[in-house]
């Protein structure tokens, strides 16, 4: 009886050990598989987020490109209407008037008209160049900004100057496109709301960082109010800057003008 009891006890122990080993084995495999599932899901989530980010970035770049083109066309349209159109209308009227004048007066009118037509031709040539303003990829940021400054000065809406420090380098096509769009937005806001007389655009090319600084001497704005406004220009500029990894600092006070500083690492 004792022998049978001992044997049953041994059997019981062996069964327990086998079942325990099996359970442990299954547990280990399941833990490994669960970890694999967890990491795989996390990895897929990361990939999806990366794809969404990439799409958003591409969309924003396209949007910036589109807006630059739109702005260029708007500027060109304004230039044709306000300048070339006016000059040519004046020439037309002068020539109409010249038919009834004597010979010497006629010559004066013709000479003056010729000069005005030549000026309009030059303006048209400049305008034609400005159509390629949106093509920052081929022109580069600096020539594009210089052309913009020239256009602003010519328009006499504001007196713009550009300061450049350091040796010029490219920070990448997309980055330059976005920077130029921010500059355009700032200029538009200045022209529309700031009542500024002067605009200073500074580009500082440091070894590892580019700083674009935009200053106007306009009426300025209340920083808090502007920040809380939905869809405000400042918010837009910040969002665009974040897209290319740039840091934006906006400084403004009522009556003391506005300053926008955009800093971008060369590597980003």
């Amino acid at each position: 009886m004792l022998f049978i009891y001992i044997m049953q006890e041994v059997d019981h122990q062996v069964v327990t050990i086998i079942v325990a080993v099996l359970a442990l084995l299954v547990f280990i495999v399941l833990v490994v598989l669960l970890l694999a599932v967890y990491y795989s899901n996390a990895k897929q989530k990361l990939i999806r987020e990366k794809e969404i980010l990439k799409t958003t970035y591409e969309k924003a770049i396209l949007q910036a490109q589109f807006e630059i083109q739109e702005q260029t066309l708007r500027n060109a349209s304004q230039e044709i209407h306000d300048n070339i159109g006016q000059v040519l209308s004046y020439v037309s009227l002068s020539l109409d008037r010249a038919s009834g004048l004597d010979e010497s007066s006629k010559n004066v009118v013709i000479t003056e008209s010729r000069a005005l037509v030549n000026q309009s031709m030059n303006d048209l040539r400049d305008l034609s160049k400005s159509f390629s303003l949106d093509n920052i990829i081929s022109n580069g940021l600096l020539p594009t900004i210089k052309a913009e400054v020239a256009r602003l000065n010519k328009s006499r809406l504001i007196e713009a100057v550009i300061n450049i420090e350091g040796s010029v380098y490219s920070i990448g096509e997309h980055q330059e496109l976005v920077l130029f769009r921010i500059l355009q937005e700032f200029v538009n806001n200045t022209l529309k709301h700031a009542k500024a007389r002067h605009l200073i655009i500074s580009l500082r090319y440091n070894f590892d960082r580019l700083t674009l600084s935009l200053n106007d001497d306009g009426v300025g704005f209340d920083f808090e109010t502007q920040q809380n406004k939905n869809g405000s220009g400042l918010k837009n500029m910040r969002a665009r800057a974040a897209l290319i990894g740039a840091e934006v600092t906006a400084i403004s006070e009522q009556g003391k003008g506005s300053q926008l500083i955009i800093q971008l690492d060369k590597a980003s």
Binding site: D11, V14, V15, I18, V19, V21, L22, L25, V26, V29, L30, L33, A36, V37, Y39, S40, N41, K43, Q44, I47
Partner: protein, 221 residues
Amino acid sequence: MVLSWYHFFELTAFALSLIFLSDLKKFKIGGYVAYLLLVCVTELTASNIEAFGLYNNHFVYNIYIVFATAISLYIYYQILDYKGKKKMAYLVLSILAVLYITINMFFVQGFIDYDTYGNTVNTSVSIILPVLVLVKLFINDDIKIKLTDNPYFWICTGTLIFNLCDLLILGLQQFIQVKKITVGGVMLYNIIMPIFAAFLYGCLCYSFILCRKLTTRLSLS
């Protein structure tokens, strides 16, 4: 005719593989129809040996091991989809494995005794290959399907767990037999393995349903 509870899982898996055959083919696992047919025939024959006038079921399982190994190797060959040198190495090793089991059955352990060497090879193949597939699934970034939504994941999980337990239990089989270790008069093997068999064929059933779902989803998108 004896029909144990876990046989229903095998028969269900076989039925589902037939129903969703076209979907299984799209996932390159159409071979499961042959495999599950073999499993069902083997299990039903082995459970009813008296009806076939056999003394024990070792002969049935020995034949099963040869064919099951060959079919498993074919199925994983399709799933792993190796190219170049890897493909060549896989084919050579597969042929060697099947040859080894066949030679063992004919000339070494014979038909009457249970071919433990053959079974060890079969079980090892059924552990290594699912691990390779799982690793491939884990490191592959291109796959758009979530790991738990992937039919291969459930096939490999079921196969891996079943065969790990099978290897352990079969390793102790002789010890269990000699010591006559039973629970309630039933051999330990016959208590534990049906549970894992049910898990394996349950996983297969689920993976076949996933094949169907994914095929429908992909054809809709």
